[in-house]
Point group: C2
Chain length 136, copies 2
DNA sequence: CTAGTTGCAAAGAGTTTGCATGGCG
DNA sequence: CGCCATGCAAACTCTTTGCAACTAG
C-alpha cells in the first residue's frame, strides 16, 4: 500500500492531522479536499490505505450511513481509551492509568478482556454538560 | 408506528427474541425470514419501527457496510452496559452495579458523562479467552 | 370497511472498481 | 523510464420509497 507519496496523499494526511480531535465523515473530507483537486475515489482509496497502516481509524456512527475517520495521533493513542462527545463531536483521550484501571476492573468483575483500540465510549463531555442546562 | 400486528412482524420479533445474545446483520435476518415469505422491505421497515420503539438496537460493526440489529430484552438491558465479544459475537450484560461504578469513575476522573445506551464495549469474553491459547 | 402493511421494483446514497492518463522516484 | 496513483464514470451494495394489492381489526 502507498509506495509513492503523492500530492493528494500529503494533503489528505495534513488535513486529518489538523483535525485530530474530531471524527470526519468521508463527505466532509472529500468536500474540503476537492478544492485541492483531490477526487472522491482518491479520498476513499487513501483513507483505506491509511486505515490499514493504522494511521487512521474508521467509525460508523449510529444511525448514519457513511463512514467517519479520525487521525490516530501516533503514540498519543496507544494504550488509551477514546471518549466521544455526542454533542460537540470531539474526541477525548482517557489516559493510560485510567484506561488500564478500567480494563483491569472489567477483567476482574466480568472476566471480559476489553480491547481499547476497538472501543469508543460515547457520552457528553464536561464542557457540553455544563452548557446543557441552558440550551439543551 | 406499527398499529397492526402482522404475521411478518410477529415472525421477525420472534426470530429476534430467539437470538437475544447476538447481533444479526440485516441480510442474515432477511435471509432467514424469506422462507417465511417476508420481503426485504418489510424486514427493513419493521426493523426501523422496532428500533424507534426501543425493542431493538442498531449497530454498525467496524469495517462493515451493513447494519446489525439486536433484540433488547425489556428490562434486562436497562441501566447496564453491553460487552460484545469479537470472537464469538455474543453480547454480555454488565450488571447495574458494575456499570454504575464505571460511569461514576469516568465522571469523576474525566468529567465525562458516559451514555450507557450508546456505548458498546468490545473485547474478548472469558470463554473465548480461555480457548484462545488453543485454536486462535 | 378503513387504514396500516406488504411486496415489488425502481430510486438513492455511499463506496468500490476498471481503465487510460499522469506523476513519483 | 516503470510502476503506482489519480480521475472519471460506471458498477455495486445496502437501504429507502412509491404504489397497488392485501389484510388486521
Amino acid at each position: 500500500m502507498s509506495k509513492y507519496i503523492t500530492k493528494q496523499r500529503k494533503l489528505l494526511l495534513s488535513f486529518l492531522e489538523n483535525h485530530v480531535d474530531s471524527q470526519l465523515s468521508t463527505s466532509q473530507i472529500a468536500n474540503e479536499l476537492k478544492d485541492d483537486s483531490i477526487s472522491v475515489s482518491s479520498v476513499y482509496r487513501n483513507l483505506s490505505d491509511l486505515e490499514l497502516e493504522g494511521k487512521v481509524r474508521r467509525y460508523v456512527k449510529a444511525g448514519n450511513r457513511e463512514a467517519y475517520y479520525q487521525y490516530m495521533a501516533s503514540d498519543k493513542c496507544k494504550g488509551c481509551l477514546h471518549l466521544s462527545c455526542k454533542v460537540c463531536g470531539r474526541t477525548f483521550h482517557m489516559g493510560t492509568e485510567g484506561a488500564d484501571l478500567l480494563v483491569n476492573t472489567i477483567a476482574q468483575t466480568e472476566g471480559f478482556s476489553l480491547d481499547m483500540s476497538d472501543t469508543v465510549l460515547y457520552g457528553v463531555c464536561s464542557a457540553c454538560r455544563r452548557n446543557s442546562g441552558q440550551d439543551d
